[in-house]
């Protein structure tokens, strides 16, 4: 409970304000605090430069750690390079993916869609916790 909220409840308990006034004051307090909370958690937009993948795991009793930092610019360049893959290669890749149980049609993936995905990666945070491993994917 915040100090201000406690003050309002104290005033209500002392009979200095009515329940309705207390409700209005608490509502106003929450309106003021909400943007501050959001801005505290939000990362500065447009400043992220890297995609980070951090994996901490235990493999056969030995601790293992993977820490990868990839520039987002590299992902964008990779998307443009991938756009040059000839259609016949994509068909072969589709067949191999289907055989492996991953029925994804790569010919349906457009470079613009991939670029949009990379553009919005800065808002993505993936955290996976399991007894043997922890995986974190985020941008910084």
């Amino acid at each position: 409970m915040t100090e201000q909220r406690k003050d309002i409840l104290d005033m209500l308990a002392a009979g200095k304000i009515t329940a309705e006034e207390a409700e209005q004051l608490i509502a106003a307090l929450e309106r003021d605090q909400a943007p501050a909370t959001v801005s505290h958690d939000a990362r500065p937009k447009g400043k992220v430069k890297y995609l980070r993948v951090v994996v901490d795991a235990t493999d056969n009793g030995e601790p293992s750690r993977v820490n990868v930092r990839v520039p987002l610019q590299l992902l964008r360049a990779g998307v443009r390079l991938a756009a040059l893959i000839p259609p016949q290669a994509l068909v072969k890749a589709n067949a191999s993916l289907s055989e492996s149980g991953v029925p994804i049609d790569l010919t349906q993936l457009k470079p613009e869609q991939l670029e949009a995905l990379v553009e919005h990666l800065d808002e993505v945070t993936v955290e996976v916790d399991s007894p043997d491993a922890t995986v974190r994917v985020f941008c910084e």
């Binding site: 430069k49 890297y50 493999d59 030995e62 601790p63 293992s64 750690r65 993977v66 820490n67 990868v68 930092r69 990839v70 520039p71 610019q73 590299l74 964008r76 360049a77 990779g78 443009r80 390079l81 756009a83 040059l84 000839p86 016949q88 290669a89």
Partner: protein, 85 residues
């Protein structure tokens, strides 16, 4: 463009290996090989009907975007670290 590639390898019961590779001098030494690779890429582009200029431009963008990449993998007492600056 990358300037320096740092590679560190730690293995149990062996001396750690640390290598700093200056990219530009190495690329100059390997210039004939680089030319051959570019020629092979151009031939591949023509065979698969891909725009040569677009392909070379995209490849150059990938190389230019490499600085800042870092890969750090550890398992037990074995570790490999690669950083591109």
């Amino acid at each position: 463009m990358p300037q320096l590639v740092t590679v560190k390898v730690n293995r149990p019961d062996r001396r750690p290996v640390r290598v700093w590779v200056p990219v530009l001098p190495v690329a100059l030494v390997l210039f004939p090989v680089v030319v051959l690779v570019v020629l092979a890429a151009i031939v591949a582009c023509v065979v698969f009907r891909i725009g040569v200029v677009r392909a070379l431009g995209a490849a150059w963008r990938v190389i230019s975007a490499l600085p800042g990449a870092r890969f750090d993998i550890e398992q037990g007492r074995t570790a490999v670290f690669v950083a591109i600056r």
